[in-house]
Structures are given as C-alpha cells and as structure tokens.
Point group: D2
Chain length 176, copies 4
C-alpha cells in the first residue's frame, strides 16, 4: 500500500494544485504537507538570514545550515506520521536534485513511496508565477530544470500539457 | 485611449491571473479591482445574509438588495477613478449576464472601455476550483456559461486553451 | 448623516480590526476600504520601484510619483462611492501627516466626514507587528508618531489601552 | 533543556501571535506548528464532513473519527521532529480538555515539555474574533473556558491583560 506520495517540482509548477486534487480523488483522507508548510513554521528571521533562506535577485533560492537542521527533523517527523498511519502527500522542491531525494529516501526508509516528478516548461511556469502574484519573480525559471537533476521517479506529469486534475488522476492510478 | 478593461468570466475561469499578467505587460501602471475586492470590503455579516450574498449547496451565488445598493455605488466609484486618470482593469462576474453589463455601461458612460470575455470550459474550471482550494465547490460550474449570456465583447479569450500570460498578451494588443 | 469615517494610524496600530468591528456594530452596511486595498490593486512591480513604494531597511515607507497619481484617482473614486450612497470606512496611513489629510479633505469635499485618530504606543505596535508576522519589521515604530503630525481629529482612540471592539463602540457613538 | 512548548488556548486567545513572538525572542530557531497547520493539511472535504470537522451555528467545533486518526499520526510526527532535534512550539486547542492533554503527553513521552495555558476572557476573545474577520463567529466564546478544563500547566498567561510580546517574554523566562 502506498504510504507517501512525493511530488517534486519547481516553484509555480503546480504541485500544490495537484496535491489538493489528489486529496479530492484518492479514497480515504491524505494529509498534504510540504516545503511551504515548513517555511511558514520557521521563524520569520530565517526567511532572510544567512543560516536560513536566501533569495538572489534572479530568483535563485539558497538555504543555509540552520534551515538544513530544521529540515532534517521535519523529514523525520513526516516519516513518523506515515509510520503512525497517516497517508501523506509531500509537496517538495528538491533544490539539491538527487541529493535532496537521497535525504528523503533515508528518512522514509521502508515506507512505500510513490515518487512523482512534476514538470513544467520554464517559460510557462514563469508566466504562472506572474499570474499568481504571490511569489518572488525568477524562482520558477530558476528551479524548473534544477530540481529534477538526477532524480528518479515512478512517474512524471507535465502541467504545461495537462490540468492539475488530470495529473492527479494519472497519479492516483499508480497509488496502491 | 483605453481607460477601462472589463474582464468578465465565471469563478475560477482565470480572470485574476490575467489581470496580474496585464499589469505586468501593459505600459504604465493599471489598477486591478473587481468583485473580490468589493466582497472583501463588505461587512462579514453580508456574506451570508438574505440582503447580501447567498451560496446554494450546488455553488449557485445569489445577491440581495443590500449587495446591489453597495455595488451600484462601487461602480460609480470605479468610473470616477478612471475619469480621474487611473487606468483600471475590472475583474468581474456578471451574474446577471447582459443586465450586469448594462449596469456597468451606464456607470462607465463615455469612458473608453475594452470588454473582454474570459471563457473556460465548465469541467476545466471545476477542476481548477478544486486545485486552488479556496472557493466553494460548484461555483465554477454554475457560472461558466451563465455570466456570458447576452454579453457583448470586443474580444474573448479561452483559458482552457491558452495560458494567462498568453491571454494577457492577446488582450494587450487590443488596448489603445 | 456621517458618510465617511476616516481611520488614520500607523502600521499595526489596529485600524483594520476597528474597521471590521465598526462594520459589525454600526446599523446598516458600510464598506471598508483603505491603503491596503489600494496597494493590492497596484501592479506588483510598483511595490519595489522608485515610482511606487519603497521600504527602507528600518521600515520607513516612501512613495513615488506613480503611486501618488494612482492614489489621487483612488481618493476621487472613494469620494464618488460615498456620494453615490455607500457609507465608507477608510483605513488610512497618513505618511505625509497634515498634507495627507489635506488631500483627503479636498477629495471628500462637502461629504460628512468623521476623522478618527488611531493611536498606539510605538513599542506596543512594534510588538504586535512581530506577533502578526506579515509585515516588514520597523514600519510600526517608524509610523507611530509620524502619521499624526498636524492632523486634526474629531476623536481619537488608543488601541494600547482599549480593545478594537471598545474603540469601535466609542467611534460608533459619534456617527450620526 | 526544553524541547517542546505547548500553548493551549481557545480560538482568538492569541496563541499564534505569542508563538511568533517566542520565535523572535528565544535564542536559536524554533518551529511553530499547530492545529491550524493540521487542519490546512487535511482534505478540504473533511472541513465539513461528519468524520472530519463540524461547526455548529453557535461556533461549537466538533471533530469526528477520521480527524482523530490523522491527528494521532500528526502528534507522533511532531514528537519525532522534537526527538530529531527540532525545538517546537505547538499552538493547540484542547477541545477535549484534560483528555487532549493526555493524548499529547503520551505522544511526547520523555521529551522535556513546557505546558502553557493561554487564557483570554471570553468576551474579549469574542471581540477579537470580530476584529480579525477570518474566523467563524462564536468559536472564541465557545472555547474560552472549555479548553482549559482539567488541564495542568507549568505557567499561564492572560492575553486580555498583557500584550503577545510580554506573554512571550514571560514564557521565554521559563524555557531551559
């Protein structure tokens, strides 16, 4: 039985929309948690500090050692929720590509995970970033390819060519 | 010179995204105001009262006499902003179709207006409503056709077949 | 009959909370609009540009010529709404003190206005700014005194010493 | 060393504001997570279903078996985060009073916990609920006393008589 669905994609690629559609179409209740939840849980001061999260003028995001420490504990917590019986959709941005996946693999251990790549053409994602109006401009383009480098998936969806709901149905068909 | 752009479409058809893209691509600053702004400005009690806004279980939205009174003054105010020199993008839901347009026509008077229909297939809009997660389910399907009945446009865009940014560029090409 | 209530106070002084309480306690529906509404209606690009809104590292806010142009039209629009019969609560930050009030006086003309100063000790407002977590740190302290310089009020309330609801009731007693 | 701070109080008692102030004044980074985080992570359908969360017309909140199942896993996850080294501020509403505390005690096990009661007079909390404008009216009054029944605290703060920042400093003085 699938216990965790990891959705990995760049900013404005449509992960959160797919997560909400998955919650609507999958049988039984699933929790949806992700990078945004973690960032909101962190002290406001970490959102601009050297040890926390940095935003370059071109939208590049970097994270420091304090972010990594809290993130490591966060991963353990998500894994513990799944072990305790909650089915979890994780909405993630693998800034480190394969290395980020490795951190999740280690934390999730023996849990049954469905790894999903959420692709979106950089130009399309950049347009959606403007349309949503609540993100730092440049993140979408900066992350579109970066987050998929060396990452292995069970399946991939492309939100430039399919609606969130259609992507969710494709993913749901792979959930056991 | 175009002074007002009226975007009319159902809930979750993508009007607000187009409005933000228009603000990004049009030369000079434009204000973006709309039904959502008006509803937020109203007393919380009107969002569930007979005289205010009603939501049927199937997502149908009805508005009462107190809503209409404030809305009439709101229309006059938007028109006055445009007359005073602000260029305004209005993001609207013509629940009354042609009748709603007539109210706007009367308020906008001699101003140069570009009337834009924002179409989106009902099923697609309903999927996006689930994906965004902040709207009452059923509104998108209920309004998809309704709001366009008898309304005359200078141009129409279809967000089921084009991205918000592409729609914005199409509209911008008609702005004088 | 009072047609417009202008609430003027610094960031995190509690104006919006008082506005919502006023909407709840005043007989009849009132619209609540303000600086935040205007800023959200502006293009995202103006929130960091020289012509738009600037935020200094210490929280000081400055506005440029493009902001002033749109704001002038906004004032005319609010006045037109009131003339058209909507009663309006304006939630404002007079960055220019008496000069800002003069701009509003001119736009509101013959309308019956209740001018209300919303005071809050700078240190208290600064603490609330941290507690709310959605404002740039330093704005509260920077604006606490500044916005009241030379401004004439019909009454003043102090949110460091009274709850929003109590302030609203005090104000409501002065509404005709 | 204190590993978890549990803030328990009714809706609109000021817990989240205190949590943000604590993050600002405590040395080192703390995560702030709570009931609101959990509810947002749940499927939208659970926010109105029999198995999920129910809102009575008077603001009373009830939760069903599906909510309890996900919540139990959530508690395990928070505990795991703390065991993995993250220091966590939990912002909670003990709808079940002493029974809710017992669930947390069991999940947190050997962890060093500071139990904090966040009190606020029901009438004051009800006024703040109107002022914030984003909560179902009645929750504040319904929960003000209820959530503290039989709960044992290390210290209590009262937001009707002290600002969030002052409460945070009082709590911080008890953190080891």
């Amino acid at each position: 039985m699938t216990q965790v669905i990891v959705l990995n994609g760049g900013s404005s690629s449509g992960k959160s929309g797919i997560a909400r559609c998955l919650q609507a179409v999958l049988p039984g209740p699933w929790l949806a948690l992700g990078t945004d939840t973690l960032v909101e849980a962190m002290p406001a001061s970490m959102q601009t500090s050297d040890g926390g999260i940095g935003f370059a003028p071109d939208g590049e995001v970097t994270v420091g050692p304090e972010f990594r420490t809290l993130e490591a504990a966060w991963l353990e917590g998500i894994a513990a929720m799944a072990r305790a019986g909650a089915r979890v959709i994780v909405d993630e941005v693998f800034l480190g590509g394969a290395e980020s996946q490795q951190r999740w693999r280690k934390a999730l251990g023996e849990l049954q995970v469905l790894w999903v790549g959420v692709r979106c053409d950089a130009a399309v994602a950049a347009g959606r970033e403007v349309a949503r109006g609540d993100r730092i401009i440049g993140m979408a383009a900066s992350q579109a390819e970066l987050v998929h480098r060396g990452v292995a998936y069970d399946l991939e969806v492309d939100t430039a060519h399919a609606e969130s709901m259609a992507c969710a149905r494709t993913i749901a068909a792979h959930v056991e």
